[in-house]
Amino acid sequence: MLQEVLIAGFGGQGVLSTGQLLAYAGMIENKQVAWIPSYGPEMRGGTANCGITISDEPISSPLVTEPTTLIVMNRPSLDKFEKSVVPGGLILINSSLVDQKVTRQDLQVLEIPANRIAEELGNTKVANNIILGVLIELTGIVSLEAVVESLKKVLPARRHNLIPVNQQALEKGMQLAKEFKNKQ
């Protein structure tokens, strides 16, 4: 198993911490993991992205140049990275923020109105974890339990009261993915 995930959006959207959550979950499951941020001369409000590699084998390069999954949190990221996804790969789009369509025909694409669903859950900050829930259900990259466990590591102690709502978001995402699979 080798999964290379690229998460891309604006700085401040939690792109990097969502990636860390995924990497931690892989580590908890004793998989080989690597996480690397884009660290170009970027500023707040500019684009941010990170690559997460989760594998059964030792990881050669942590750079994700041809993602198996692309998570898109803003429009420039779709423009920039759509062409890099491997044929047959997966694109997950936060359609609350991105109104653009994927043009490639050789990919699996899911549009998730993550901010709207997060609002329904009562906390817009958990939007990323709705998408993460979709990812883990569709790809089996890591388990829900491992992601919930890694929330304890990534969130500071004073934010641990937010773990239940984050778990809800993950479960909501998994449910959406199941519905999508049933429709196919």
């Binding site: 860390q20 931690y24 580590m27 996480w35 690397i36 660290y39 990881i59 750079l63």
Partner: protein, 354 residues
Amino acid sequence: MSKVLMKGNEAIGEGAIRAGCRHFFGYPITPQSELPHYLAKRMPEVGGVFLQAESETSSINMVYGAAGAGFRTMTSSSSPGLSLMQEGISYLVGAELPCVVVNVMRGGPGLGNIAPAQGDYFQAVKGGGHGDYKLVVLAPASVQEIIDMMQVAFDLADQYRTPVMLVGDGILGQMMEPVELADEVTLPEVPAKPWAASGLKGRKKPNIVNSLYIVPEDCEELNQRLFAKYDVIAAQETRWEEYRLEDAEIVLTGFGTAARIAKSVVDKARSEGIKAGLIRPITLWPFPSEVYAKAAAHANKFLCVEMSMGQMVEDVRLAVNGKKPVHFYGRSGGMVPLAKDVLAEVKKLMAGGE
């Protein structure tokens, strides 16, 4: 032991703390700034000194002062910063002062960029500053190895009274990987430093730390002493990793991040029936020449993979000594070789191409 996810730059800092380093002097520069950031927080927790100097020139001379006073001390920077430090490094060698200098390399020459590169190999292993000298140069290839190598770096520095350099690149500095950390930290034993300028303590004659040898005879004696020391280091401290080397017909080689990529190419090539192997120098100086010479007996050819226009390849050629062809594949200026491109190069070479 506990397993944590850590950035390479943070691992350099934590490794230094665990190795007993309590004096850090540095100046921020991408892609290593998480290291001073980390130590700015950690040093006060362990009663150490974190000082952000006004320049890299200052940092390295503060290291000279702390090392001269007998403390475990270090500085870190990235490529352009290391160029500024070269004079100080030469002085540290001349005064036989133990210290650790870290270079998280980026694209050059000049101001270049902040992307990962390995173009400072020559600067690290062939001098860099003025005069006849060598640095022990360590090149870890994972975040775990960074933690382990920081301990080795400080131990070798003290044991041989020499500056030790640890080189990484932007990828190793920025990436997060799992590391095993001991829960209980026992500080390592640091050898006595009777030469240190740390006060007379009842003695009549003060210790003087200096690199000025005004009489040529004395200065030649210093050079001979240094090189006698380098012979011992070369004999006892050379480190490398071998991978699937025994029956390899093509030997890939590289250090740090480039070696990780080369290693994955070895597996890919093997799965396609090509007998490939890997030599990864862990010490860039002393260079593990003998293992190349040995491999040249059964291998048909070598391929050196670097994130530069080709620097370590010269040492590989010296080690192979004309017995077999040594080819090169590299990307530079902050670009990173892709495994598929290196594999294509391997196939081309195995098919008899140049």
